[in-house]
Symmetry: C2
Subunit: 341 residues, 2 copies
C-alpha cells in the first residue's frame, strides 16, 4: 500500500501556484509507540493554511518545506498502538493533505461518532473549528446583548454565516458584508441576516457610508474575518464600547509585501472600544458547551450551514484557491478517499 | 474689565498656524443661573486639543469656529450664582484659553485645595487628566502583573513618563520609546525606566528589532500614545495575551490626509491580544482612589514628574506647537494670569 501526499515545495508568493507544491507517493508511514495510523477521508481547507505556508511567526510554526500541507482531517484509524483507539474508529486530527497520516493519540486527535451527525464532514464545519470560531468569537469575545447591532465581514463564508445566525438567536440585529449581489442575497434569504452590504469596488469612505445606512444605530459588535479596508470602514461606524473580535485577515494572506494597516484605528480611542484577536484553543475547556449548544441548534433546525466538498487529492490546489476567488458556497472540504473501504 | 480669549478662526491643516486663531478682547461674560465666573490662571495644553480643532467625530464635539480653544483650566472664582462656590475658591474646569470663563457648577467643574499640592499646576498634571490617564490606562486597561514587561511610547511625555514609573511600582520591567538620545537618557536617568529605545529615523522593521533587543522576554503590555509606525513595531513584539491600552495617536493629529493604519494588526490574532481605547471618563467612579494613590506616591517621593510652564495668552500658539516639535520637558501648561490678584 502506498501513501500520496501534498507537500510544500516552496513558499508561495501571493496566490499559491502548482509549482509551490509536490504530489509525492511513498510507502505507508508506521505509527510509533502510543501513536495511530489514520486513513484520511476529508481535509478541511481553511484560510489559516495560507498563513502557515509563509515563513512567519504565528500561533503555529510554519509548514516546513518538504512537509505535508497541514490540515484538520476526518479519517478512520487504520492501525493503532494506543489502547483507546481501534482500527475502524473515526477521528478528527490535525494531520495533513495526505492519504495516510501518523498522529499522536492525544492533543489535537479525538474520536468522533458518525451516528451523531448527518455527515462526517460536519466535524470539519459546524461542529469543528468553523462552528466553534463563530460560537466563541461572537459570544465570548463579542459579548452581544439583545437589541445590539452585530456586523460581520466575510458573512457569506463558513464562519461569517454562522456568526450572523447566532447573533439573530441572541436577539441582535445582524448585518453582513460580502462580495457581490449573489452572496448578499444569500445573506438575507438563506442565513436570515437583517440586511447585507456589498463591499466590492468601494473605497473606505463609500463602504463606511453604506455600512452606516445598513446600521442606523451604529455597530456594537464587529466580527472581522477580513481585515484591511473593510475593517477600516467598520471602525468608522462603531458605537461607544464596541467589541471587535478578530478572527482572520484573509484580505492580507496573499500579500507579497507589507500591507498598510487599517485606517480609523483612532476610533478605538474615540469610542473606547476593544479590538481583540482570539483563537478557539483559548476556549478548550468550554468546547463541550459550545459543541452541545451548536448540536442542539442543528437539531432544532435553527442553523443553516453549507459545505462545499471537492474531490481528489490531485485537485488540492484548485480547491484551495477557491478560498481566495470566493468560488465556493460554505465550508470548503476536500474529500481524498471514500468514507469506508 | 475686559476678557481676552483665543478663538478658533479656521480649522488647521496640519500643524496649527497663527492664521487659524484670533486673539479677541471683549467685555466680561455674565454667569447665568447657578453658574460661576472663573478667572483662569493656568491652561492645560494637550494633544487632544488638536483633535478638537478638526471637524471630526470624537468623544467631544469639535470646537466650533468662533469658539474659544477648549482647555482644562485652573482658576479662581470671580463671581458665583451657585451656593457651593464663593469668590476666591480655586477650581479646575473645562473652559477655554480665555482670561475669564463662565462655567456650570457641576459636571467638569470641581473645587480644589491649593494647600494639598506644591503648586496649583499639579491639578493639570499629576493629579489631573495626565496622571489619571497614566494610572487608569496602565492599571485598569493594561493590567500589568509583577515581572511582566511594560513598553511605553511617548515615554518622555507627561503621560508616558508616569506610566513607566507606575509600572516599576508594580514590579514590572519598564521600557520606554522616545525621540532622540537626550530624551532616552532622561527615561533611564530621571524616570527609572530599565532601558530606552530611540525611534527616530527608523523604519518599522528596524524599530521592531530594537524593541526586541530591549524586551528580550517580549512585550506584555504596550501603552500607546503615538499610533502609526511605533504601534506597528510594538505589535511585532507582543506576547501571547498582551494588552495594548491606546491613549492617543499624536503621530496622526496633524495629518492632512488619511493616514495608513499600523501594520502588524494581524499579531492581535496570532497572539490573541487585546487593543483597547480608553478615556478616563470611564473611570469617574474610581477617581478618588486614583487621586489618593497618586497623592500618596507623591508624598513618598516615588514619582518624578515635570511641568513646563509657559507664560502669556499671546504665546498660546508657540506654546501649543511644542507638543508637536517635542520642545518641552513634562506636562505643558500655559499661565495666562497671576495666581492671585
Amino acid at each position: 500500500m502506498e501513501n500520496t501526499r501534498v507537500l510544500l515545495k516552496q513558499r508561495p508568493a501571493g496566490i499559491p501556484k502548482a509549482d509551490d507544491f509536490a504530489w509525492v507517493t511513498e510507502p505507508l508511514p508506521e505509527p510509533g509507540r502510543e501513536q495511530i495510523l489514520i486513513r484520511n477521508i476529508y481535509c478541511s481547507l481553511d484560510p489559516a493554511q495560507r498563513g502557515w505556508m509563509d515563513d512567519a511567526e504565528s500561533y503555529f510554526p510554519p509548514i516546513e518545506l518538504g512537509e505535508s500541507i497541514r490540515a484538520t482531517t476526518v479519517g478512520q484509524v487504520a492501525a493503532s498502538n494506543h489502547p483507546d483507539y481501534q482500527p475502524g474508529d473515526y477521528v478528527v486530527a490535525l494531520t495533513g493533505v495526505e492519504h495516510y497520516a501518523v498522529a499522536d493519540a492525544v492533543g489535537f486527535t479525538s474520536k468522533v461518532d458518525p451516528s451523531f451527525v448527518r455527515s462526517l464532514t460536519n466535524y470539519l464545519s459546524i461542529l469543528g473549528a468553523v462552528g466553534l470560531t463563530a460560537y466563541f468569537g461572537l459570544l465570548e469575545v463579542g459579548k452581544p446583548k439583545a437589541g445590539e447591532t452585530v456586523l460581520v465581514s466575510g458573512a457569506a463564508g463558513a464562519v461569517g454565516s454562522l456568526v450572523g445566525q447566532i447573533a439573530k438567536l441572541q436577539g441582535c440585529r445582524a448585518v453582513g458584508i460580502a462580495g457581490g449581489p449573489e452572496k448578499c442575497k444569500r445573506l438575507t434569504d438563506v442565513y436570515g441576516f437583517d440586511t447585507a452590504v456589498d463591499y466590492r469596488g468601494k473605497d473606505v469612505p463609500t463602504l463606511a457610508a453604506d455600512i452606516k445606512a445598513a446600521c442606523p444605530d451604529g455597530v456594537d459588535v464587529y466580527f472581522d474575518t477580513v481585515g484591511g479596508d473593510v475593517l477600516a470602514a467598520a471602525l468608522a461606524n462603531i458605537n461607544d464600547n464596541a467589541r471587535l473580535p478578530l478572527c482572520g485577515m484573509i484580505s492580507q494572506y496573499n500579500a507579497t509585501e507589507p500591507v498598510p494597516g487599517p485606517t480609523n484605528v483612532w476610533q478605538l480611542i474615540a469610542k473606547t472600544a476593544r479590538m481583540e484577536g482570539f483563537l478557539i484553543r483559548d476556549f478548550l475547556d468550554k468546547f463541550p458547551e459550545g459543541i452541545g449548544q451548536m448540536a442542539q441548534w442543528i437539531a432544532e433546525d435553527k442553523l443553516v450551514f453549507q459545505e462545499h466538498v471537492d474531490e481528489g487529492i490531485e485537485n488540492f490546489l484548485t480547491s484551495f484557491n477557491r478560498l481566495f476567488s470566493g468560488d465556493h458556497n460554505g465550508k470548503l472540504i476536500l474529500q481524498i478517499a471514500p468514507e469506508s473501504v
